[in-house]
Symmetry: C2
Subunit: 343 residues, 2 copies
């Protein structure tokens, strides 16, 4: 068990290191108001804390900095739950006072605003695409020659695609087609749309419309929508300001990793709801081994639909990051709920 004095010293070291990114020496700790002991005493305590694995040195005569175990302990037991400033709360609430339009815009905006507020990177993962289903199909004629196909999913995602109406197709053909589509495709997960079209709809269209190949071709073109983006990353540039990224090679690795949805998404697919902190090598991906990730799930009603996360150096302001993330995901969930309730 750690003594109160050790706890205090550990806390001071973490707080100070988060602030300065420099190893902390005993003299500097002794200068702090809350600390009433001499540098020598602190050195002894620090030696003990190091032996216990909470602190580490960069070299034999350097000051101490927290180890991953130190951060973990800090996060679990020492961290002051941070009050956000009124300005920050205001800013967040202001964003959510507007009506939510589409989940995707909310995700994108969230990523942008949070990374600006925290100065870390923000990752926002949306609902499992595999579970997103088609809710409605509409075709809106623009003029004689062209029309827009509109697809709405159960997450509120709206996809539109303009296309040229094949010659020989008339209004009633279009209407019939739309009816068939709605009948057969509503409720089908987006990822199965193309298979479903081939399997079920193809035959029906042949049966009901006057010009089969035209209509079918049109269909394929209009309905093969790109799957909605599922991951938003924002604030990469912020990392350039972090001293741990003064090395261009590190930046390259991080940036290129962030381009690849396949690599990031699994990190965020957290199984349990709530807020979770992954410090350094607690992240299984090597490129993130000197970063920390804080994730928080958000919901629509009861359904946990996605994750919003902050990524920063292990030396990050955990209290602030957690506070921000929790407030944000709460507001976001509320806001999504009220929007979905109305629909």
């Amino acid at each position: 068990m750690l003594t109160d004095r050790q706890l205090l010293i550990l806390k001071v070291i973490v707080d100070e290191f988060v602030d300065t990114a420099q190893p902390i020496g005993s003299r500097n700790i002794a200068k702090k108001e809350q600390v009433g002991f001499s540098p020598a005493t602190i050195r002894n305590e620090m030696a003990d804390l190091e032996e216990l694995g909470f602190l580490q040195k960069t070299h034999s005569s350097s000051g101490r900095m927290p180890s991953e175990k130190g951060y973990r302990f800090y996060v679990d037991h020492l961290m002051d739950p941070l009050k956000l400033t009124k300005d920050e709360i205001k800013r967040i609430n202001k964003y959510f006072s507007h009506k939510m339009i589409e989940l995707e815009r909310v995700m994108e905006n969230s990523a942008n605003i949070l990374s600006e507020l925290t100065q870390y990177m923000t990752l926002v993962l949306g609902p499992e695409i595999f579970e997103t289903k088609l809710k409605q199909v509409q075709i809106v004629p623009l003029n004689q020659h062209s029309a827009i196909a509109i697809l709405v999913t159960d997450t509120g995602h709206v996809e539109h695609r303009s296309f040229v109406i094949p010659q020989g197709l008339d209004q009633s053909d279009l209407e019939k087609t739309v009816n068939i589509l709605n009948e057969k495709l509503v409720g089908v997960p987006l990822v199965y749309l193309d298979r479903m079209i081939k399997k079920e709809v193809r035959g029906l269209i042949k049966q009901y419309t006057s010009d089969f190949s035209q209509a079918y071709h049109l269909l394929e073109e209009a309905l093969l929508i790109d799957l909605p983006t599922n991951l938003y990353v924002s604030g990469k540039g912020n990392m350039l300001n972090q001293p741990e990224f003064n090395d261009i090679e590190k930046i390259k690795i991080l940036f290129s990793m962030m381009e690849s949805e396949e690599q990031i998404a699994p990190l965020l697919k957290s199984k349990e709801e709530g807020t979770h902190i992954f410090i350094g090598r607690e992240n299984k991906i090597e490129a993130l081994n000197d970063l920390s990730l804080i994730t928080s799930t958000y919901t629509i009603g009861e359904d946990q639909v996605g994750t919003i996360a902050l990524l920063g150096p292990t030396r990050m302001d955990y209290a602030k990051a957690v506070a921000m993330l929790q407030l944000w995901s709460k507001q976001m969930s509320q806001s999504l709920k009220s929007w979905y309730d109305e629909n």
Copy 2:
């Protein structure tokens, strides 16, 4: 006037420097096959070329590298018009063999593909927003409570916005509203939409619909669309691989500049059609003073609607960049034309 030998040496230096990013010494030039003179001779010629302003040294005993004037001369008179590889041409043509859907997607994809092909940054500027006009308004009911407003512009941009139907509004109110909107707002530039709604439409709605304030509120919410994005930037990460960006501060400046549409857009609003090259300080913006920008306009039919550009270090492969850009903008124009002709 430069002698043939000077031209040859200048060309070799530019080509070599583009390749290696290192100042070139006389010995290395002499080693080139095409060059049949001794290092001493070359040194004399280089001294002359330097005096004329085509070459420069990094310090008094370094090799030579091209000055901006040198690049300018190279680009105007020496550059071999590069043949793209079959692979590259194939890749470009393949992209344009698909049907174009929306200008914005074309822009976005163009930025991505070109920056991958060239390893430089790509900027794509779309049509003047001020000139983009509303072409059609549609409202598609989703269910009892909500609907989607769809706005189509004359550039093919489709904007959708879901909204909640105010209680008390019935189907016929909606229809009337849409009719009024189409009558009054079609042809209005997007940037004037809100003013126009306030000025013209407000009164009419009051007159025709049973519940004025509801309908008007709905309208404001649904029609205050974000203006379509006009600028796409891609390939920022490529710059990390350029040796001229081994300094983090430079990267920060460049990246933060690229976040600001207001700063970049003016660069691309070129008045004359065709391809233009701006080398180093020929760019009026200071942050781009050691970069080069190559712009190329693209058209829809006769109308020059936008600009596509590559941004790289002054030491860039101008021949390849120009070739890529020209092929791309040509294909893009053709492709857009055929799409618009069909509409």
